[in-house]
C-alpha cells in the first residue's frame, strides 16, 4: 500500500479531471444564476430563496387586478396596493434554486416527453434487433444450407460499415419515403445489427448440437427452437448486448439530429438538451444543467448498480 | 548444484494455514517428489522454494546460504510449470534462450537492433545459440526450434519447457506437476525420460505431483504431504511397505490398502472376534486398525481368518482384483489374485481369506503406526 502511493497520486489526478465536468454539471443544477455568475456557493449553493423573474413578469398586476384587490387593502391608494400585490407575486414566485432549476427543466420543455421518447426508441430498437438477429444467428450457427458461408461473409463485410457514415443516403431514402420526423425514422436504420448477428452466432456456436437435436426429437419447429431453446440459453449474452444497444442509442445525438427537425414531440433526450441550449440565455444555465443531469443520470445509476454487466456490455465490441 | 534445506517453513493465507511447519533436507543430486492430494500445500511449498512466494516463517537455504529473502530471479533455480508457461510470441529457440539472455546479457545488449552494435553482443549471442541448440538436441526438439508454442503438441511444449529449464545450470530443478496436462500414454513415456534426464544431469530435482505412480517410479525419496505437513519422507519402497501413518498407507498404493478394525481383549489381538495372537502387552490401546495390502491377502479353503462373498471383479489380464464383502460386518476388502485363480472367484462365490501377520500393519485409532504391537504379534505367530 505505501509502495503504491505514487500510483494512487497519478490515478487520483486522473479522477479529478474525469469527474470535474460531472461535478460542475450537478453543482450548477443546484445553484442560482447569481451564484453561477459569480462562481460562489460551493457544491450545493447557499439555497437562498430566489425570485423567478419570468414568473413575476408573467403575473405583473394590471389595472383590473388592483381594482379586484382594493377590498383587501381598504383605504390604501393605488400605488401601495400595486406594491403590495407585487410583493405577493414575488413571494409566490420565489423558491429555492434547486427547485427552480429542476422545475424549469421539466416545465420549460417537455422533458418527460423527451425521456419517454428515449425509452420508446431505445426499447423498440433493441427488440427489433433481437427479433431480426436471433433467427439469422441461429441459422448461421446451427443449420447447414447452401450459401451459408456466403451469408456469413456478407455479415463480416457489413461489420465494416459504421451506420453513422452512411447517414446521408439513409436520410435521402427516408425522406423519399416521407418518413422523416417519425418514430420510424429514428428506429429503422438501427433495426439490423450486424454486430448482434455476429455476436449471437459466435455464442450459439458454443451451444451443443445435442440440445437442438433433443428439441427436434421433442417435436419443436426450428422457429420454436430459436425462441424456446436458444433464447433462454443466450440470456447472459443478450443482456450484455442489450446494454450495448441501449447505451448507444440513448446517448446517440447524430442520427436524431438528422431525421428529426422541429417536431418537439419526437425529440430524444439529447435533442431536447440541444434545443434548450439553443434558445437559452445566460440565466438559464441552472435549468439546463438540471436537464443534462436528468438525462445522464439513468444510465449512470444503472451502471453503478450493475458495473460488471455494463462494462461487459459496452466492451462487447472487444470480442470481435 | 548444491543441497537444499527447508527449515520449519509455515505459510498462512489470512486465516487459513497452508503449511504448518515443513522441514526437509534435499541432498545434492537427489530426485525428491512432493506428493499428496490437492490442497495439501505441496505446490505452495515448491513456490516458496522457488521464491515466488514468501513463507510466513521459516527459512530456505541453498548450498548452505540462506535465500529466504532473495527474490526468485536471484536464486538460480529452474522451474517447469504445469501450464508450461511458454512465451506465446517467441519461437521455441527464443523461449529456451530467454533465461540465458536475461542473466548473461546486459539490458543494453538485449535491445532490438541497437543491441547488436554493443561490444560483446555478437559472441554472447553465438554462445547462447550454441547452448540452446545443445539443450534442444538433448531433448530431441532441434527440429522445432523455429516454431511457436501455439504450433506444438502438448508433449512438445512440455519438452520446450524442460529445455528452458535445463539450458542453464541451476542449483536445482523445480517441476510443478509437469505431466498432468499430457495424455496417459505420453505421460508414461515422459516419466521415463525425466528420470533418465535426472540420471544424466545428476542435478537436484524437486518434483511436485498428485500422482503416486509418478512419485513411486521416478524418485529417490518421496515426501508425502497432507494438510500442510510432511507425513513421511523416505525411499519409495519404504513409503509403500513401511508407512508411518495410516494416511500415507492409504494414499500410496493402488488399489487402496484394506483397513480392518482390530481390538485388544486382555492380551489378545482380535479381528471380528477372531484371535490373531494372545501376547499383547496391556499398555497397547483397546481399539486399533489393521492395514493389509491387497497382495497380502490369500485365498484359502482351510481355516480362513476372514470369510466373505465376491461382489465385484476387475480382470486386468496380468492380475485380478476381487472385491469381497466380509460376512462379519459387510465391509469390503480388495484381494489381488492371479488370473489362474479366477474360477474360484465367480460373482457371489463364498471365499475364505488368510493373511500373514508379518504383512499386516497396525495403527492406533488416530492413524499412527504401532510397530510395538506388530512386533509382539509376529513373535506370537512364530511361536504358534
Amino acid at each position: 500500500m505505501t509502495r503504491d502511493w505514487w500510483k494512487h497520486m497519478v490515478l487520483i489526478l486522473g479522477t479529478i479531471i474525469v469527474l470535474a465536468p460531472f461535478y460542475m454539471m450537478v453543482s450548477y443544477s443546484f445553484k442560482s444564476p447569481g451564484e453561477i455568475d459569480r462562481g460562489e456557493g460551493g457544491f450545493f449553493g447557499r439555497q437562498e430563496m430566489m425570485i423567478d423573474p419570468r414568473c413575476v413578469a408573467l403575473r405583473q398586476p394590471d389595472r383590473a387586478d388592483i381594482e379586484a384587490a382594493r377590498a383587501r387593502f381598504a383605504g390604501q391608494d393605488d400605488a401601495s396596493v400595486q406594491a403590495s400585490l407585487l410583493a405577493e407575486t414575488e413571494a409566490d414566485c420565489s423558491m429555492r434554486p434547486v427547485v427552480f432549476n429542476y422545475s424549469k427543466a421539466f416545465t420549460e420543455a417537455p422533458l418527460v416527453r423527451y425521456l419517454l421518447n428515449g425509452v420508446i426508441v431505445t426499447v423498440s430498437i433493441f427488440l427489433i434487433q433481437i427479433v431480426v438477429a436471433l433467427p439469422a444467428a441461429y441459422a448461421l450457427a446451427k443449420l447447414k444450407f447452401w450459401g451459408r458461408d456466403a451469408v456469413f461473409g456478407l455479415v463480416l463485410f457489413c461489420l465494416l460499415i459504421p451506420v453513422h457514415a452512411i447517414a446521408l443516403p439513409l436520410y435521402i431514402g427516408l425522406a423519399k419515403l416521407g418518413l422523416t420526423n417519425t418514430y420510424a425514422a429514428l428506429v429503422v436504420p438501427w433495426t439490423i445489427s450486424v454486430f448482434g448477428i455476429f455476436l449471437m452466432r459466435q455464442f450459439f456456436m458454443t451451444v451443443p448440437d445435442d440440445l437442438i437435436d433433443a428439441a427436434r426429437m421433442d417435436g419443436m419447429s426450428e422457429l420454436a427452437i430459436v425462441w424456446r431453446v436458444m433464447l433462454p440459453t443466450a440470456i447472459p449474452a443478450l443482456l450484455a448486448f442489450a446494454i450495448f444497444s441501449v447505451v448507444a442509442h440513448w446517448n446517440d445525438y447524430f442520427w436524431p439530429r438528422i431525421v428529426v427537425t422541429g417536431n418537439r414531440d419526437l425529440f430524444t433526450p439529447p435533442l431536447g438538451l440541444r434545443e434548450f441550449k439553443g434558445d437559452g440565455d445566460g440565466s438559464f444555465f441552472g435549468p439546463m444543467m438540471a436537464t443534462a443531469t436528468v438525462i445522464v443520470t439513468p444510465l449512470i445509476v444503472a451502471f453503478l448498480l450493475a458495473q460488471r454487466r455494463f462494462i461487459e456490455g459496452i466492451t462487447l465490441s472487444g470480442m470481435k | 548444484m548444491s543441497d537444499l534445506q527447508i527449515a520449519s517453513v509455515t505459510k498462512h493465507f489470512g486465516e487459513t494455514s497452508v503449511l504448518k511447519g515443513v522441514t526437509l533436507d534435499v541432498k545434492d543430486g537427489e530426485f525428491i517428489s512432493l506428493v499428496g492430494p490437492s490442497g495439501c500445500g505441496k505446490s505452495t511449498l515448491l513456490r516458496i522454494i522457488a521464491g515466488l512466494e514468501t513463507p510466513t516463517s521459516g527459512n530456505i537455504a541453498i548450498g548452505g546460504i540462506n535465500v529466504t529473502q532473495l527474490r526468485a530471479a536471484d536464486r538460480n533455480l529452474s522451474m517447469v510449470f504445469q501450464s508450461y508457461a511458454l512465451y506465446p510470441h517467441l519461437t521455441v529457440a527464443e523461449n529456451i534462450a530467454v533465461p540465458l539472455q536475461m542473466r548473461q546479457m546486459s539490458a543494453l545488449q538485449r535491445l532490438p537492433v541497437l543491441g547488436s552494435i554493443v561490444p560483446g553482443a555478437r559472441t554472447q549471442k553465438d554462445d547462447i545459440a550454441q547452448a540452446v541448440r545443445h539443450a534442444a538436441e538433448m531433448l530431441e526438439i532441434a527440429a522445432l526450434l523455429d516454431r511457436k508454442p501455439g504450433q506444438l503438441s502438448g508433449g512438445q511444449r512440455q519438452r520446450v519447457a524442460l529445455g528452458r529449464a535445463l539450458v542453464r545450470d541451476p542449483a536445482a530443478f523445480l517441476l510443478d506437476e509437469p505431466l498432468s496436462n499430457l495424455d496417459a500414454k505420453l505421460r508414461v513415456q515422459t516419466r521415463a525420460e525425466i528420470a533418465e534426464l535426472h540420471r544424466r544431469l545428476k542435478a537436484t530435482f524437486i518434483y511436485v505431483t498428485h500422482d503416486q505412480v509418478e512419485a513411486m517410479t521416478m524418485s529417490d525419496r518421496i515426501a508425502v504431504m497432507m494438510g500442510g505437513e510432511i507425513l513421511q519422507c523416505a525411499a519409495p519402497d519404504v513409503i509403500y511397505e513401511d508407512p508411518d501413518d495410516i494416511r500415507v498407507a492409504e494414499f500410496i498404493g493402488s488399489p487402496k490398502i484394506n483397513i480392518l478394525p482390530v481390538e485388544r481383549n486382555g492380551t489378545a489381538l482380535t479381528v471380528f472376534d477372531q484371535v490373531l495372537n494372545s501376547r499383547l502387552s496391556i499398555d497397547s490401546p483397546k481399539v486399533m486398525q489393521m492395514g493389509l495390502r491387497p497382495e497380502a491377502l490369500q485365498l484359502t479353503q482351510s481355516a480362513p481368518r476372514l470369510t466373505g462373498r465376491v461382489v465385484h471383479l476387475e480382470n486386468l489380464g496380468s492380475e485380478v482384483f476381487a472385491q469381497i464383502a466380509l460376512d462379519s460386518d459387510g465391509s469390503r476388502v480388495t484381494l489381488r489374485a492371479m488370473p489362474e485363480q479366477r474360477q474360484n472367484l465367480g460373482l457371489g462365490a463364498p471365499v475364505g481369506l488368510s493373511f500373514d501377520l508379518n504383512a499386516a500393519m497396525i495403527f492406533d485409532a488416530g492413524g499412527a503406526r504401532l510397530r510395538q504391537v506388530e512386533l509382539a504379534a509376529t513373535r506370537a505367530a512364530e511361536v504358534a
Partner: protein, 323 residues
C-alpha cells in the same frame, strides 16, 4: 410393416432433409439479409452513384457531373481544412487515449481490488451522454465564468507566473478556448480523450486479466528482475491483439467525432473552420445545405478511410494468429 430398401431410403431422405434445412436456414436468415441489403448495402451504392451527380432533395431531376464533386474535395480550401481538422483529431486522440488507457489499465491492474474504484470512475464518461458532457465542458471552458479559467486565475500572483502561459494569461486574460482558433481543435481533442480513454482502459484490463499468471512466474524464474523486463517479455506481447483492436476502434470512433463539434459550433465547424471534421462536413453539406452530391462524395471518402483501417486491423490480427 412395409420393408424399405435401406439404400433407397437413404437416397431419398437425405437430400430431402438437406432441402428442408436449407429452406428453414434461408427463411430464418431472410429478414436479416433483406434489412442488411436495404439499410447497409443499398445506401452505399446510392451514395456512390449520387456522388457523381448534383442531386438535391426536392429537385425533380439531376445532372451527371462526373468527378466534379471529388475534384472539389481535393482542390477547395474548405476541404483542406476538413482533412487537417479530421486528421489532427485522429492523430492526437488515438495515440493519447490508447496510451492513457494502457497506462491506467496497468496501474489499476497492479492495485488489485482497490483499483476497481478507479475503473468505475474512469468509465463514467463512456456511459454519459456525450452531448450533455460537451455542454458541461463548454461551461467549464467559458472564458469568464468557466471553472477552468477561474482555476487558472488562482495561479496569478504566485510563482506559477514564471511559466509564460500563466504570465500571458494573467496579463491579457486566459484563452477563449472554444472561441480561439489556435485552441479550438485541441479542446475538442481533449474532450475526445477524456471521453474515450476509460473505454480503452477497460479493454486493456480485459486483456491483462487473460494473461496467464504462470507466465509472470516463469519470467521471474528466467531472471526478469524489473517490472519493465516483465512488461517487455510477457505483458506487451500478450496485449498485442488487444492493442491492435483498441487502436482500430479508437480510430473509427475518432473519425466519427460529431457531437462535441456540433454542440460547440452549430454553424461552421469552429473558429475559422479549424474543427471542421468529416462527419460535420457531411452533415452540413449534405443535410443542412442539401448538396447531396458533395455530401455523398465525402461519405464515400469516409467509408474508404474506415474500411481501410479495419482491413489493416484484420490483417494484423491474422498475422498473429499463430499464437
Amino acid at each position: 410393416m412395409v420393408a424399405i430398401d435401406p439404400s433407397l431410403a437413404a437416397d431419398v431422405t437425405k437430400p430431402k432433409a438437406d432441402n428442408r434445412q436449407a429452406r428453414t436456414g434461408w427463411g430464418l436468415a431472410a429478414p436479416a439479409l433483406i434489412l442488411m441489403f436495404l439499410i447497409l448495402l443499398v445506401p452505399i451504392i446510392a451514395a456512390g452513384v449520387l456522388s457523381f451527380t448534383n442531386y438535391s432533395l426536392g429537385n425533380p431531376s439531376f445532372d451527371w457531373v462526373g468527378l466534379q464533386n471529388y475534384e472539389r474535395l481535393f482542390t477547395r480550401s474548405t476541404y483542406e481544412k476538413m482533412y487537417v481538422a479530421t486528421f489532427t483529431y485522429v492523430v492526437t486522440v488515438v495515440p493519447i487515449s490508447v496510451g492513457l488507457g494502457l497506462g491506467a489499465a496497468l496501474l489499476v491492474h497492479s492495485l488489485g481490488r482497490i483499483g476497481d474504484i478507479y475503473k468505475t470512475i474512469y468509465f463514467l464518461p463512456v456511459m454519459a451522454t456525450l452531448l450533455a458532457m460537451a455542454i458541461a465542458w463548454e461551461f467549464m471552458l467559458h472564458p469568464t465564468i468557466g471553472m477552468v479559467n477561474r482555476t487558472l486565475e488562482m495561479a496569478c500572483g504566485t510563482w506559477f507566473e514564471v511559466i509564460p502561459f500563466f504570465a500571458d494569461g494573467c496579463a491579457e486574460g486566459f484563452p477563449l478556448w472554444l472561441g480561439d482558433r489556435d485552441y479550438a481543435i485541441w479542446v475538442v481533442c481533449f474532450i475526445g480523450i477524456w471521453q474515450g480513454f476509460g473505454f480503452n482502459m477497460v479493454l486493456f484490463l480485459a486483456g491483462l486479466t487473460s494473461v496467464h499468471r504462470e507466465l509472470y512466474h516463469a519470467a521471474e524464474m528466467d531472471g526478469a528482475r524489473s517490472g519493465w523486463e516483465r512488461f517487455r517479455l510477457v505483458t506487451w506481447p500478450a496485449l498485442g491483439p488487444t492493442t491492435v483492436f483498441v487502436v482500430t476502434i479508437s480510430c473509427i470512433r475518432a473519425f466519427q467525432v460529431f457531437d462535441t463539434i456540433e454542440a460547440f459550433w452549430p454553424q461552421g465547424g469552429g473558429p475559422n473552420k479549424s474543427a471542421y471534421v468529416m462527419m460535420f462536413a457531411i452533415f452540413e453539406k449534405g443535410i443542412q445545405q442539401n448538396l447531396i452530391g458533395i455530401g455523398s462524395a465525402i461519405t464515400m471518402l469516409f467509408l474508404l478511410f474506415v474500411m481501410f483501417l479495419t482491413l489493416i486491423q484484420r490483417w494484423l490480427v491474422e498475422r498473429k494468429v499463430h499464437y
